[in-house]
Amino acid sequence: MAFVYNFPLFSIILSMFSAIISSVLSGKWAKRVSLIMVCLVLLMSSGLLVYTHSTGEAVTYMMGHFPAPWGNEIRFGVLEAVMAVFFSIVMLLSLLGGMSHVFADVEDTKTNLFFVLIDMTMSSLLAMIYTNDLFTGYVFVEINTIAAAGLIMIRQHGHSLVASIRYLVMSSIGSGLFLIALSILYGITGELLMVPARDGVQVLRESGNYSLPLLLSLGLMSVAMAIKSGLYPFHTWIPDTYGYSTTTASAVLSSLVSKAYIILLIKIYVRVFGYAYADAGHILNVLFVLGLVAMVMGSVEAIRQRDVNRMIAYSSVAQIGYIYMGLGLGTEAALMASLFHIMTHAATKSMLFVSMTGLREASGGKTDRRSLSGAGYRNPLAGITFLVGSLSMVGFPMLSGFISKLLFARAAIGVSGKMLPALLVLALSTILNAIYFLRVVITIYSPQGSDAPLDNVMDDEGHVLTPEAYQEAERAKLQTEGVFLAPKAGALVKNGPLMSVAMVLMMLLNFFLGLCSGPITEALLAGLRIFG
């Protein structure tokens, strides 16, 4: 057994212990511990990726060499390794991008708790990716829920308190359903480890016994995960949660936390029940339809938002819809597209939240559309990052969103009955995405005062200017100065160095996914084949 086999367990344990240690450290040290932990996890996951890619086999790792029911299992292949690497990259970038705001948004005495929660989130994400045991999955689902609720609440802002209560209620319903489903499955198969449970399911399917409880169990698990990841009719907790948390929390919650549940669900489908069973029970059809509805309704809701943070949050509803649409198509190619879209969305959404923070800084802390006008000039880097993120969401070629869209569309071709709806909704959703994202892009690149008088636009004697007068004055000033450059729209805002680095890296990550998708999709496909 190679030493590298221990890496998954090490990374889970490491992040849990970081949480424990951080609880007694100061905020500053807790931050360092978190960053070091994420970097180490990244390194270990990369090592694991290299190893699994070279062997091309899935490995089942028995913890402490105890067989079930005492022991616990971890299982990993290329797919798990890719996801772990990717999740740690996005986690690292989100941490860097929102670092300065953590210290601004969170009460001084509680900053270390923030990092405790981040560490716990990280460990539960990794555990959900690696675990081969349904009950362990459940335990970490709960840990994740608690940590996420803490992350939302820690800003201690009226909205975020409401949001975290809402999140807690919705999520607990999800967890409860999952637990019930788990009990049913345990009752009829007597197994909790995934592979033996699959054999149990197989026996039941062949004998025809307990067919209703079996279907019920799968259905409840699907609904539970749909609630937790915010599929359309269960999405009501999303906008407040993502919209009002501190930057890092929004980025982590939207791009990673909801995705881990989907990965767990895929694992349950592929490894425990078998995809064919889910298809035969029409559960995939339900997911497909809900996915399509989410793609449209998420965007429609997003269009109606005034607040840009909430708009980005609603866009997550649509993107989650894409992922479930892929699940619902039920082919291997579609599943791969969904997995790729998990990466695309994680990379892009975290980038949008971080850049929106930069733009908010440049607009007096406001995030409604009107206040943001001209922000792209006042904070150029954040403006460009937002532009790239928006284009990626719209599916602009060379960015990762395009590859997702292409994979989805190609996967849809040939799936009878689902092809045309999928393709048409894909096209429609592109238009809707363009409507709300590019509207903001236009706003941030339109100078202040171009359509509405702002309170702070005054002439030398202190009279408030009408927009026309303001523009005229600007024009006259430029003419007399003999400058032919574009007018400067307000003072430049400096980003923190960490934030700038994070934004640049996020853009690069997005271009990387868009331009070098070949190896990634191959790895995902190879991983998917040994996933079951």
Partner: protein, 493 residues
């Protein structure tokens, strides 16, 4: 190895535009003339590459989006026509823009994006596969939208928003076509007559036709096909060099060009001929011709009237394309080239009037013909040519279109000719009312009110005059160009 030179015309303007955006240069003259130099060098390079046939065989792979998705540049005959046209027009339009934009406060970003658009348009023209065309097509939206947004006021924001939504929405449907060509055809590389595997896919014929119609309408957004034409008249809020070059040539022709590529080089005319898909898209094109010409007569804003005329004329190109025959392709290409010259000439005249006289509506043009003789002489030539008067270039391409429609021998062809005649009548009305107002303002018109108004300087007049002269030249001596285009349509080039 020499094939790699093909990359330069696409990347050089993009790089130059990027540098222009960021450069701290304060000297306007130096800034602009170096931009012009880059554009001229680029155009010379394009023509040199096209004439030597560089990269025509194998093309150049620009980048891989994934192992099987290659962005490839390969100038075949059809691509060369568009690339050559664009390369000819761009330096002249830049020259015109120097004077037109001289009092503007955002010249830096204007010229930067103007130059970038050049590279992207060449990318569209030189693309060797539907995928690369799609890539540049999306980029075109991106680099031209700052130009529409140029004045940043409420109107231009609204227009830019409309432009973006329409374009991206259109591209989303074009994307469906691309996905089918990739998945069913196996590769999106252009082949004259259509991608073989796609032509042979028999069982899903109706589905393919449906996708073709959707993709046609999708790319038709940029070509201002009814019912997705609305963005074009609103986009005339942009500065005239943009409306003239982009909204009469580069952008809208990119849409028509993409449709030609889609029809003749991806799906293949043989598969489409005689099907319901042909009649659907053909019907749309014919309706758009009638609609555009009629609306142009109704419109009193000078530039918007020309924009409606563009809508009609683009559908001439699409109509030729819809004939699904060699003659149709030939007619489409000839109108693509000739309309570009006519419309840019007309727009430049309109821009000159706006710039020198600050008049924006048709009813304000009375008597200007005497004060701006060169401008209005050229406008008259462009107008006659657009109407399709013999001895002017417009006649040639309309003749080609009518011939292509008649050789079809179907009812569709006959209806097409009738629509052409109706549109010619309307064109005569909407162009000639302008000319008549300018030259014959009516009895007792007081020319003293126009005392201050003059023709613009050589930088504006040179492009205008050159285009007008070219229209007459092509009208009386179109042989070489037409032979070339025939060869292109036959696929021997």
């Amino acid at each position: 190895m020499i094939d790699y030179l093909l990359v330069i015309p696409v990347l050089l303007p993009l790089a130059a535009g990027g540098i222009m955006l960021l450069s701290p240069a304060k000297n306007r003259k130096l800034f602009l003339w170096s931009a012009e130099t880059v554009v001229v060098i680029n155009s010379i390079l394009v023509w040199a590459l096209l004439l030597t046939g560089t990269g025509r065989e194998n093309g150049v792979v620009l980048l891989h989006l994934s192992p099987e998705l290659k962005v490839i540049l390969r100038p075949d005959g059809t691509g060369s026509v568009f690339a050559g046209l664009v390369a000819f027009l761009w330096p002249l339009a830049m020259l015109y823009a120097f004077e037109y934009m001289e009092h503007d406060i955002r010249q830096r970003s204007f010229f930067a994006f103007y130059v970038m658009t050049y590279g992207v348009t060449l990318g569209i023209a030189l693309s060797g596969s539907l995928l690369s065309l799609y890539l540049f097509y999306e980029m075109l939206t991106l680099v031209t939208f700052p130009l529409v947004l140029h004045y940043r006021d409420a109107d231009s924001r609204k227009a830019a928003r409309k432009y973006l939504y329409y374009s991206i929405g259109g591209a989303a449907f074009g994307f469906l076509g691309l996905v089918f060509v990739l998945s069913v055809g196996g590769s999106s590389d252009f082949v004259q007559g259509g991608v073989p595997a796609l032509r042979e896919a028999v069982e899903s014929r109706d589905l393919l036709l449906l996708i073709y119609v959707l993709a046609f309408a999708g790319f038709g957004v940029k070509a201002a096909l009814f019912p997705v034409q609305k963005w074009l008249p609103s986009a005339s809020v942009a500065p005239t060099p943009v409306t003239a070059l982009l909204h009469a040539v580069a952008v809208v022709k990119a849409g028509a060009f993409a449709i030609i590529r889609l029809t003749y080089f991806s799906f293949g005319p043989d598969m489409l001929r005689g099907t319901w898909a042909q009649y659907t898209v053909g019907g749309l094109a014919l309706f758009t011709i009638a609609y555009g010409s009629t609306m142009a007569c109704k419109e009193i804003h000078f530039k918007k009237r020309l924009a409606y005329s563009t809508i009609a004329n683009l559908s001439y190109v699409l109509m030729g394309c819809c004939m699904m025959s060699e003659a149709g392709l030939f007619a489409a290409l000839s109108h693509l080239v000739i309309h570009a010259i006519m419309k840019i000439c007309a727009f430049f005249c309109a821009g000159a009037v706006m710039h020198k006289a600050d008049r924006h509506h048709v009813y304000e043009l009375n008597g200007l013909g005497r004060r701006m003789p060169v401008t209005f002489a050229c406008f008259t030539i462009a107008g006659l040519s657009l109407t399709g008067m013999p001895l002017f270039a417009g006649f040639i391409s309309k003749w080609n279109l009518a011939m292509a429609a008649l050789t079809e021998g179907t009812v569709f062809g006959i209806i097409a000719v009738c629509v052409l005649l109706y549109s010619a009548l309307m064109t005569g009305i909407y162009m000639m009312t302008v000319v008549v107002r300018a030259y014959f303002p009516g009895r007792g018109f007081d020319y003293n009110t126009l005392k201050e108004i003059r023709d613009p300087t050589w930088r504006m007049l040179l492009p205008i005059g050159l285009f007008a002269a070219l229209l007459i030249l092509l009208g009386v001596w179109s042989g070489p160009l037409m032979n070339f285009l025939t060869a292109v349509a036959k696929g021997v080039l």
